[in-house]
Symmetry: C2
Subunit: 609 residues, 2 copies
């Protein structure tokens, strides 16, 4: 397959007919910087914590309307439209059929799945004029099952996948970082339906690859997948697509020796305590005024790595105490614990009347009224310091395997830097930060069972279909690309998602010759179907014009100036500063088109097939 | 300009790259009827009043999710995507810049414009997790002003137009007729900003023409514009785009002699009573048990056309009575009355204590406590029957001009069939029914003034920009097209918005030769970039296959059957039954492509430039 076809295939807006109505040319839509709606300014807004947010506000990409709610200026809308187009093409290529679900849903659909009750405040519930209960959809599993449960009553209809690109609302407690964590957003969400786990897994793999292509085509092949915990979505196997960046809000566990990657919830903490010290005798000692494990270790002058810390929760259903014991220097991962407990939990409030003695809780002699979990980080330690379940006292010399009647160790702690990789077994775990730009889930039958969706199989038996679901946040992806590709002056958009391909700056547009030359180049590029924005503002200094161009982040820049025109030349540069050439005017169009091809090819090379 | 270029320009999905990834061909996306997600069934659903609703439910286009809320199956999504594409192209062609506003808006934006208070229950108000007041946007004037009020502070930025295609929610009291009147819907809404009324009018005219092109390209050049009342939008001049159909919910005033068209609210009732009878003497007569004007006329054996009817309202602000007098056979148009009153009114509740005598209200001797409006339908009548403002009595022989001290006639009645055209003056008014598929408004400064959006003019003075706004409901347009183009078996989609261009039916797909021939034709059409859906289901009778095809409403059908193949032929028909040909297999592709071109040309011929 030739380069040319690949190149064309990557250019979302090319081939769009009637750009100039009823012309045979594939003419681009005219746009001048002087007409582009959107305010640009110099000052970094005080409320912007991360660079992409600051630059996209400063550049006139978006405007805050309310808490975690934004309007998109034309600049951002062009970028998100390109992203959506890439997504649609890849979803269609894996036999996805585009549908549209409503943003507002009747509560009874969410009653069916049980999520009207089980999801927290991030689900916005409201009532309409007739007092009917409704929700703003934050995800559309219920709507997807509702749409197809009459259609897909025979096994012959399977498998199939439906997707939509639609607004969603999630009433986040703390919206932040511009488009990274908002309350209202555009999302592509896809739902696949299968008659067997194998078939789901086959499709899951296809979708996995489609996602890799989407991110590569959007210019960020760096996105990595991590195994994840499915959380409130139900189901088991799931992956998150993470863009690694220091400003990301998620922690990702990465092995430097193999390709293991997981989020903190999914990363198994494989602890091996190589403790060769002889076990001490179990002793109850007075530890006055020692409320934390650090206090105790300081007081006893013992190593915190030889201590046993208690973290106490209560079950939401009946307030039963759940005590998690981890090594003093480890943290409990609540998601892991919640999965073991099998229900929602919250931090405990312990009173004098309770069976637990706050500050002095230990596994030895603990009340039978509490549910106890021992983390693997405690395994194999010869002598531990631990609470004595008695006000003002701790044990020393606790050896769990020796002293407790029953000692099942489970994985409820957060993995740490330098831990053992659960995949290759080497001590090569690092913790990185990332932005989640997509996720895929094997949902199983959670929704089809609760919502009574069934089909008749080959043998005439009724079965519940197995589902997968697949999401990408469009606005977050745009912001993530900006977060990766920017400098202090503005975004550096990959050409596949850039608002335009070429930016013409006419310095001294009051100079007749310069203006005429720039006008001609602009018209020629438009006529050739190149997406071009033209800055022909008069009376603006080159520095200001370039500052604006930097904020627009268009990959190719063509600079027309009286000085270069004296030599019959124009200057061509790239936003990333890798190219800076002065070339004859009459070669300018071809040079720009070649450069453009090269930029698309560079992205294409990273798209795996 | 040649036919070919016109033809290509009308085909929204052609030219879309990477239909088959990385192939040089403009290959269509594969789709078989057996895989198309959506249920089809025979029975007309009981709750469907109009045909388009019934057919679009029966055909698997959409599914009701809640009161006035629908999901779109792939079939409808393909149609709305084509409509959106046509709209985008025409908006871009008049220099529109696409933006995106949120669906959820903070209430304080609507406080600024005053609409948080003034709009009724159709505005859905809710609170978020922090108890902040919010609304679901039903229209986006406030959001538009919010987006651009910092940007457009200098006259040099004007004029400009921004538009979006976005979901909206309007909490309709009575959703009905499928996609015609729903609560959640996709709408294209555009907002233009100007520095002079002349400039607004110029742009308004451009948009007016763009709308005509949009409807013509969507296959319904029959759409007419009517002058309308702006209602809650503010401003003065506005037009509605009406598709005339007996099932429409709006009444439209049309002159058969000139091109005058208006909605009932905007149509001036030009009454001339040619009453040559000599005026009678004013007499107060007893009219026992006559509560309605018909009762009175029957009792007095007088013509209802010579009676004066009272319709009583109260002002919302202070419950002042507003009495509208119209000729006995006319109806009050509340919008006209409201505009005269200058505020909201509601039907009156009259008690014994009030200054009005219910059932006997007349203009002569009425209490000064009521605000009185006399309709033009009463002008020039020599002798009227009217209430005497006294329990059990009416006047006869009332001559308003003679008997009342002051008699200003105003237009507060609904125009009737056969009335005088306000434009050409002929008695040629007819009343038609229509669906409103779009509207355009000259908003004036209502929003810029209330929301403090200003710019500095050439002279350094602060001014309020003048706005226009322009809406089209995407789903309603799809349903309207179906309402106009259908038969008892299904929709007959115009090729520009049809879900596919060609539908191949392989009768007897169990016949090896028939299957192979159909497969080949399918692949060839796909390779040529034709949008084709293929029915190769086995064991299905031709009647059932055609029924499904009729419900899909694809304009061109190619039927491959063993019988025709014996003669080396296939059959080509159109959904509207205008074409039915048996042609040699090896000419089939070219024939289909020619027919396709013809169908696009037929639509193009009606698009005015």
């Amino acid at each position: 397959m030739g380069r040319k076809s690949i190149y064309n295939s990557l250019r979302p807006f090319v081939g769009k007919p009637i750009l100039k109505r009823y012309s045979k040319e594939r003419r681009g839509i005219e746009m001048k910087v002087s007409k582009l709606v959107g305010s640009r300014f110099k000052e970094r807004p005080a409320d912007c914590v991360i660079d992409s947010h600051a630059l996209m506000v400063r550049g006139g990409y978006m405007k805050n309307v309310g808490n975690g709610i934004y309007s998109e200026f034309p600049l951002l809308k062009r970028i998100t439209a390109k992203i959506e187009r890439i997504i649609r093409q890849e979803m269609d290529a894996i036999d996805g059929q585009e549908v549209l679900f409503p943003v507002t849903l009747p509560a009874d659909l969410w009653d069916e799945s049980g999520r009207y009750e089980s999801v927290g405040n991030e689900l916005l519930r409201f009532t309409d004029r007739n007092n009917a209960r409704m929700v703003l959809a934050m995800t559309h599993e219920e709507a997807a099952v509702h749409l197809v449960r009459e259609y897909a009553q025979s096994y012959t209809k399977y498998p199939f996948m439906i997707y939509q690109i639609q607004r969603k609302f999630r009433d986040e407690a703390r919206p932040r970082a511009g488009m990274i964590r908002v309350r209202e957003f555009t999302m592509k969400d896809a739902y696949s339906f299968h008659t067997s786990q194998e078939d789901l897994e086959d499709y899951y793999e296809k979708c996995y690859q489609a996602y890799n292509r989407i991110f590569a085509r959007a210019g960020i092949p760096e996105v990595v997948t991590v195994a994840s915990d499915s959380g409130m979505m139900g189901g088991n196997i799931s992956h998150e697509y993470m863009l690694l960046t220091p400003v990301g809000e998620d922690s990702i566990v990465v092995c430097t020796e193999c390709d293991y990657r997981a989020n903190m919830e999914a990363a198994e903490n494989k602890m091996v305590n190589e403790d060769t010290d002889a076990p001490e005798e179990l002793q109850c000692v007075e530890t006055p005024d020692c409320k934390t494990i650090e206090d105790v270790c300081n007081f006893l002058k013992s190593d915190v790595k030889k201590s046993c810390k208690a973290v106490v929760y209560q079950k939401n259903v009946d307030d039963t105490f759940v005590v998690a014991f981890v090594r003093g220097d480890y943290e409990v991962n609540e998601t892991k614990l919640r999965n073991l407990v099998g229900g929602e939990i919250h931090p405990a409030e312990i009173t004098k009347e309770d069976c637990l003695v706050a500050g002095y809780i230990g596994p030895y002699g603990i009340s039978k009224g509490a549910e106890v979990y021992l983390d693997v980080s405690l395994k194999g330690i010869s002598s531990l310091v631990a609470g004595a379940n008695k006000e003002g006292y701790h044990y020393t010399g606790l050896n769990i395997e020796r002293d407790l009647q029953k000692a099942d160790f489970v994985d409820i702690s957060k993995i740490q830097e330098g831990s053992i990789c659960p995949c290759c077994g080497k001590k090569a775990i690092t913790i990185k930060r990332g932005i989640e730009v997509g996720n895929i889930f094997q949902l199983g039958t959670k929704y089809t069972k609760t919502m009574s969706m069934q089909y008749t199989d080959e043998n005439g038996q009724q079965q519940y279909p197995i589902m997968g679901c697949y999401g990408i946040g469009v606005g977050r992806l745009a912001a993530s690309i900006c977060e990766v590709f920017h400098d202090e002056y503005g975004p550096i958009w990959p050409i596949t998602v850039a608002p335009w391909e070429v930016h013409i700056c006419c310095l001294r547009a009051d100079d007749k010759e310069a203006k005429e030359a720039a006008d001609q180049l602009y018209q020629k590029l438009l006529a050739d179907g190149v997406e071009v924005i033209y800055d022909d503002r008069k009376g603006i200094r080159p520095g200001a014009m370039f500052s604006d161009a930097d904020l627009l982040g268009v990959p190719i820049r063509m600079i027309v100036s009286p000085r270069n025109l004296k030599e019959s030349c124009v200057e061509i540069t790239t936003r990333d500063k890798s190219v800076k050439e002065v070339i004859p005017v009459d070669e300018a169009i071809e040079s720009v088109k070649e450069l453009r091809k090269k930029l698309y090819d560079q992205i294409q090379e990273k798209v795996s097939r």
